[in-house]
Amino acid sequence: MVLVYSDNKKITIEILSKASEIAKEQKKKVTAVIIGKPDENLAKEYISYGAEEVFIAETELESFKSEEYSDILASIVKETGTETILIGSNKNGKELSARLGGKLNAGCVVDSNNIYIKNNKLMAERVVYSGNAIAVEQFNSTPAIITVPSKAFDSLKKDDSRKGEITKKKIESEKSKSKILKAHEMKSEGTNVEDAEIIVSCGRGFKDKGDIKLVQELADILKGKTVGCSRPLAADLKWLSEEHWIGLSGHKVKPKLYIAAGISGQIQHIAGMRDSGIIVAINKDPEALIFRSADYGIVGDLYEVLPKLTDAVKAKMG
């Protein structure tokens, strides 16, 4: 069996298409797992996107805890003899998969965007060394666990005539010794850097939160309307939300045009934007690493360059 799980519906649907392909080759069934309240509508939706079976693990658990969720998945895997486990690669999914790997003594590859079978072995590719290489990983045993980031695979076309079985079962899990005291969603402005065609990004070269308007104005003129940033601006200074954070530990983007202002170009930042079409760098330090990763660069003070560039682009676009 090929098992698919994520607490994010969109990623589950994307993974279902890859899971169907692997299942066909292995002559196995694709099962989507829902943990929590029995949501039949969601189950039906998963079936319309390719799940041949939906397993609803009914629990009373209030919130996500890896200790308990991995226990539930481990029971399902053991009971059904699952060989392949595909899990959505958000932070919950990653810590869940790794713990499950520990519990089951199973191999695990995180953040894979290419999964296939070669010589009867399950293979998963992932980016390593901050984008300097792609590792081809081969599983030598089952069960095999792979986590899949969003947008790695296109979902199947929704087809309401697809048939599938829905199984509901109460599953007891071991009670975790951890307790969630507080959980709240981070403020979202609905920014989506991953889909953006043009991104203007800012880094530590900015002296003040208010100065971010300089990149916002350029982004607006470029009709990109999308502002990105380096890790310190989102994680240390919190000038921008996590949605804007680009890099190894943030979002991976590939716009047509990526403009980096006041960003030094450390490899962990490059890892998130190296697949962009054209890369432009603005930095006052001629030695800045970012120029080595850029198509075009301007050496200068961003406080002078950005307003002038905004005006010049405005003039050019008419």
Partner: protein
Amino acid sequence: MNIIVCAKQVIDVSEMKVDANTKKPILQGVPQKISDIDKNAMEEAIKIKDKHGGKITVLTIGPADAKERIKEILAMGADEGILVTAPDNIDYFMTATLLAEAIKKIGEYDMILCGEASIDLFSGQIGPRLAGLLNIPQITYALNVTAEKDKVTAERNMGDMAVTTEATYPALITVTKEINEPRLPSLMQILGAANKPINEWTADSLKSGLKPLVETVELKGVSMERKNIVYQNDIDESIGKLVDSLAKEGVIGR
């Protein structure tokens, strides 16, 4: 409070070169260092020890030359080092198993600290894997840690969620880069570290016959060719040229 800090020796990815023909990364001769965030884990361990007393043990699975790296952590303030010597190409299953066996051999512990992910391969697997093997609670992506006598609390960065989690001991915590600023040891501390014990255990003595469940069969290169046209004279002229180039590239325009 007995704290175990797991620290990995990694190659310095920013010093890595790529073969001009094959585009494959060259792994030989790259400088080695302690994975960045493991130093944040160590710094946090010192803060907790300062408050509660106890002992900090740094634990590394790696090649024999990782001993030099362990000395850096001892200089920061760890009391003792343990190096489990293992072959190069071990997988996460083997690393976590060896860490778990070493920790069982150490015996008493209240807290295990790991980095959110190692800087070379950036998986973030070992922390949760190890917690699963030891069957203890895991608190991932900690932005801060408050250790009290009988429980530990942390605020965590879970991406679109901010979560505060509490656990009893023993617990495993993975820390983010933002949690603190790792200290730079003084010359005195560096010299003092030479007298601190580093135990070397072999992988086989902890668990024999381990085989990887996942094998890296190939490392494919990725090309990163850029035009590298840099304008550095008159700003107005540079901007004019840049805008013309971008229009020619077809990325801006009506």
